[in-house]
Amino acid sequence: MNKDYLIISNNPLVKENFQDTIYFQGTLEELLIKVRDMVHQGHELITHPLGASIRMMFSPYKSILVSSEKKEFNEFFASIAENSIEDYRKNTFNRKTDYQHKNDYAMIDKELLQEALKEHVSLRAIN
C-alpha cells in the first residue's frame, strides 16, 4: 500500500527517525500556518494540529499528519486549521515557549506521532 500521508514537523528527533519527514525549521506557530496553507491547497488533515493539553502549547516542537494527495477543499479541516492558529496565539500571548525542556518535548511529540501513525494505518486498513 502506498504511503498516503505526509509528516510535517519542526521536531529534529522526528526528522531523525522518520525518513520522509517534511522538516520545517521554524516555530510551532509557523508550522501551524504552513499546515493551514496546505489544507487550503487541498491536503486533508489526518491529525488535529493541537495537542490535548495547554502544556503542550508551550512545546517548541510539533508533528502533524496531512494527506499526501491533494483533494477537494474541505471547509471543516480548514476551520480546524484556522482555529488552531487562533487558539495557539491566544494561549501563548503571555507565555513563552519552553525551550529548557525541548528534548523532553521532542521525545513526547515523537511518541504521540507514532501513536497517531498506528491509529491512521489501522483506520486506513478498513477504509
Binding site: 488535529h48 493541537l50 491566544k90 519552553d98 518535548y105 491509529e119
Partner: protein
C-alpha cells in the same frame, strides 16, 4: 448492581512504626509501603512523606492521586486488570479511608507540572489541599524507557493505595453511601415519566502521558463503551495522564466522579440515570469521527432523552466534545457540556479551541488561564526544580521574595471537567 461505600473518616495523619487507624488518626509505616512497592524490579527507590491540610508544603510534580480503599465483601479488590486479577467491579462493600489520598510524584519528563499547595492561596484552587496526603515519590531503575517509567509509577501509586487501604479492612463506620440501580428496563418501568439521561465521559487517549485505562485496557484501543456507574466508582477507570494538570481526571476523581454521584442523587427524582459511556479522545480526525459517531449511536440506541458530556484536557479534545454535541442535538437529544475555558488572563477570549452552534448548554469548570499568586513554601515534596518550570512562563512571574505567579493550568484538579473541584458557576 449494589455498591456500598463505607466511609471511615480520616481526620489526622502521622508517620510511625505500624500501619493503624485510631480515632480518626491514620498512622503510616513508610517501610511497609516501600517494601510493597520494591517488589517491582523497576522501582529503584521509594520515599514516603505526609502532607496535611494547613502545612506550608508544596507537592510537585504530581502524577496521580488515588483514594485508599479495601473491598471487604464482593468481587474485585484493588484495581482488577491492573494490580489484581480480573474480576467484576461495581458490587459489594468497600471500606474507604475517606479524607486520605495517595499522591504520587516523580517526574517522567522535565516539563511535567501539577502542583498541590496545602496552605494559603494555592490551597484554595485544588481539591487535594484538604485531603490528608500520603506522598509517594518513586524513582525508577536506571535506563528505563519512558513508557515503562510511566507504567511503573502509575502501578506503584495504585499498589500504595491498596497497601494503605488494607488498614481499613476491619474498621466500621455508620456512614455508608449506597449506589444501587437495576437494569435499564427495570429502572424505566419504575420511572416511566422521567427523562432518560446518559453521561458521556471523555478520556484523553493519545499516547505516552496522555492515556486512560478501563480495567487495565488502554482507552486508545476501544470503541466508546457502556459502563455501569458503579464500576467507575469501584475503581474500573484509572488515569495514565500527567500533562494536563488542571483538567486531567485523577484516579481519585474517577473513584469519586462528581458527575456520576450528582446524576445518581437525582435518579428517580427528576431524571432516569441510565449509565455511563466512556469515550476515547483520539488524535486522528478519522478516529474522532468514528468515536463521535459511535457515541451518538450508543445514546440513540439506548433511547436517551438527554446527555451530559464531560471533557478531559483542552485543545484537540474540544473538537470531539463539539462533534458529539452536534450529532446528539441534530438527533433531538438535549445535550449539556461540561468543559473548562481557556479564555486568557482577563477571561475575555473565546473559551474553547472550536465552536458549534448546537452547543447551547455549556457548564464552565473555570478559566485555566487565570493567574494565581503562590507564596514560597516551607517544605517542598518532589522536585524543587519543577517549581521553576511551573512559574517559568513569562517575564516577572518569579518575585524576589520567592513568591510566584502561575496560571491555574499548573494546579492539579483546579478546573476539573467532571466537577470534582473547588470552583463554582455563577448565574447572571
Amino acid at each position: 448492581m449494589k455498591l456500598e461505600l463505607r466511609k471511615i473518616k480520616v481526620t489526622d495523619l502521622a508517620l510511625g512504626n505500624e500501619m493503624k487507624f485510631e480515632n480518626g488518626l491514620l498512622t503510616i509505616d513508610p517501610q511497609v509501603i516501600i517494601d510493597g512497592l520494591k517488589d517491582d524490579v523497576n522501582v529503584k527507590d521509594v520515599r514516603v512523606d505526609i502532607a496535611k491540610p494547613g502545612d506550608k508544603t508544596r507537592i510537585i510534580p504530581v502524577k496521580d492521586v488515588i483514594e485508599p480503599r479495601v473491598k471487604v465483601e464482593g468481587t474485585g479488590n484493588g484495581f482488577p486488570g491492573v494490580t489484581t486479577k480480573m474480576e467484576q467491579l461495581g458490587s459489594g462493600l468497600v471500606n474507604v479511608l475517606s479524607g486520605a489520598a495517595i499522591v504520587t510524584i516523580g517526574d517522567i519528563v522535565g516539563f511535567q507540572e501539577g502542583v498541590i499547595d496545602m496552605w494559603g492561596e494555592g490551597a484554595k484552587w485544588t481539591p487535594f489541599s484538604t485531603t490528608y496526603n500520603i506522598v509517594v515519590d518513586i524513582s525508577v531503575a536506571d535506563g528505563l524507557q519512558p513508557h515503562d517509567h510511566e507504567t511503573t509509577v502509575r502501578i506503584a501509586g495504585l499498589r500504595a493505595a491498596e497497601i494503605v487501604g488494607e488498614v481499613a479492612r476491619d474498621l466500621t463506620s455508620d456512614e455508608v453511601e449506597v449506589y444501587e440501580m437495576g437494569n435499564i428496563f427495570e429502572e424505566t418501568n419504575k420511572y416511566p415519566d422521567l427523562p432518560k439521561v446518559l453521561y458521556v465521559e471523555m478520556l484523553i487517549s493519545q499516547g505516552l502521558l496522555h492515556d486512560g485505562y478501563i480495567y487495565g485496557v488502554n482507552s486508545q484501543k476501544i470503541l466508546p463503551t457502556l459502563i455501569h456507574p458503579n464500576e467507575e466508582l469501584d475503581g474500573a477507570v484509572i488515569s495514565g495522564n500527567c500533562v494536563a494538570a488542571c483538567d486531567k481526571i485523577t484516579t481519585y476523581q474517577h473513584q469519586n466522579n462528581s458527575s456520576i454521584i450528582d446524576l445518581y442523587n437525582r435518579h428517580g427524582k427528576d431524571i432516569n440515570f441510565m449509565g455511563v459511556i466512556l469515550t476515547p479522545e483520539l488524535t486522528t480526525l478519522e478516529g474522532k469521527f468514528r468515536t463521535c459517531d459511535y457515541t451518538a449511536k450508543l445514546c440513540k440506541t439506548l433511547g436517551a432523552d438527554g446527555v451530559i458530556i464531560s471533557e478531559e484536557g483542552y485543545g484537540n479534545p474540544d473538537s470531539d466534545l463539539l462533534m458529539i454535541c452536534k450529532r446528539l442535538e441534530d438527533s433531538g437529544i438535549k445535550t449539556v457540556l461540561i468543559t473548562d475555558e481557556c479564555s486568557g488572563w482577563d477571561g475575555m477570549s473565546q473559551p474553547l479551541a472550536d465552536t458549534t452552534k448546537e452547543a447551547v448548554a455549556v457548564v464552565s469548570a473555570g478559566n485555566v488561564s487565570h493567574v494565581v499568586n503562590l507564596p514560597p513554601a516551607d517544605k517542598v515534596l518532589g522536585n524543587p526544580e519543577a517549581i521553576a518550570t511551573l512559574a517559568g512562563g513569562w517575564e516577572g512571574c518569579l518575585n524576589d521574595d520567592g513568591s510566584m505567579k502561575c496560571e491555574l493550568n499548573a494546579v492539579i484538579g483546579s478546573t476539573s471537567e467532571i466537577g470534582y473541584h473547588n470552583l463554582t458557576v455563577k448565574l447572571y
